[in-house]
Amino acid sequence: MLLRARTATAMAFRDQERRPLVLILLVIIPAYVITRSIAETLPTPRQIGLPGGVVVTTTMRDLHGAGMGGLVVAFVVALVGVFVMQSALEGDRRLVLAGYRPGETVIARLLVLSAAMALVVAVAAIVTALNFTAASWLPMIVGLALIGMIYGAIGALAGAVLDKLAATYLILFLVMTDLGVVQSPMFHTTPGSLAVLLPGYAPSRLMYEGAFSASFHAGGELALSFAWLAVLSIGVFFLLRRAVRVSG
């Protein structure tokens, strides 16, 4: 079983290697968007509320840099999720017919998605670090990674159940609503009362906590992020396993 899973994973990565443009765009898009966001924004003072009731004064420039990191990670990783799963649905049923277990093919695809997420988060963190010094890098990077994983899973779910055009539109709609407007401290001192219902609430609060506070008060948000991630990951695993399973 392990050998087959390893082979499926190696083939899934080889499939990605054949498309160098994907890798280039996974680097260029976050690098461009974050750099431009920071470069274009004025350092206008702005007061924001962080987890634990902490209020800090920062600037729109720093908020934009940190916030765009989360937004671009979510959007790009979710799109990767959509298309990795579309590829899985096209090709993996044949692997299952040839004797693979559905879980083995699903793990291979999830590893590709995780690698893409790690790359995009690394680029976002490095580019942010070139322009902005976070108060505490660890929670900020963990927040970015959780945003990537949660939205990657949402993209995978969308890719598994929707047509690719509908899935792409849905991702745009969700990311812009959630991280672009509802959770963004550029527009609200703290997110509104219903913001907690959206998947980006907990990881983005964690990310902003890391960006602007040297002390850590976001234990609840961290736990909520893991809860979202666990539920979505289980959903992706079982949905995909069912989708690639051959009936009869």
Binding site: R19, L42, F75, L79, D163, A166, M186
Partner: protein, 237 residues
Amino acid sequence: MLSVALPTSTAFIREHLRAPLTLVLLVAIPVFFVLIFASVLGEFAEALGGTLASQSATAISAGWAAAFLSGTLAFFQVSSSRAADRRLAAAGLGPVRVAVSRIVAALAIGITVSAVAFLTLWLRSGIGHPFHAAVAIFTFAAIYIGIGALIGAFVKGQLEGSLLVVLVFSVDAFSGPQMTSNGLVSVTPTRNAANLLIAAGGGQGSPGGDWIGSAAVALGALAVALAAFWFSARTRT
């Protein structure tokens, strides 16, 4: 030509809208962009160092919604339908008629998206120059039909293609007039259309140069789209 192209165009439109959620999102996203995103866009533009007034910011959000939706749709039209279009062309329809049908379908959906964005904008904040705004929003859609189709003609992978549409859109949106104090990228596809839309949103007319510029870019983009649809449908020997 049109009598043959129209039924095929209708079939192409049905092909894209057979998923009910796609249709819902084609209507919901422009409404969302204008109603929700626009309410914060004025503040956002001010933070970027631009001088975009709130009403103009609301107007520009309608153009961006029409642009992104039309660009993505045109990309997937070329990318998903390449094999089927070649068969259609080889079966007697010919690559030119396939291309015309594709562009009529893309334009019909682009007009629908633009109309939804325009109506939402009009109902939300009123428009000083409604005709100017309607033309400008549709120009955004037409330009991105060209961009999406061009990317679709040369990039086969759907992930890289949709990421490229996102990259072009990001460069364009970030470099729009009055959104930025930085002239780093001063020649962007929707610059003239954005000038028209910003002026119309603020109740101002526009100079002839912006009309000529946006018409030239839109017509050029549609010509590129037609060529891209033809290129994808033609039979390889």
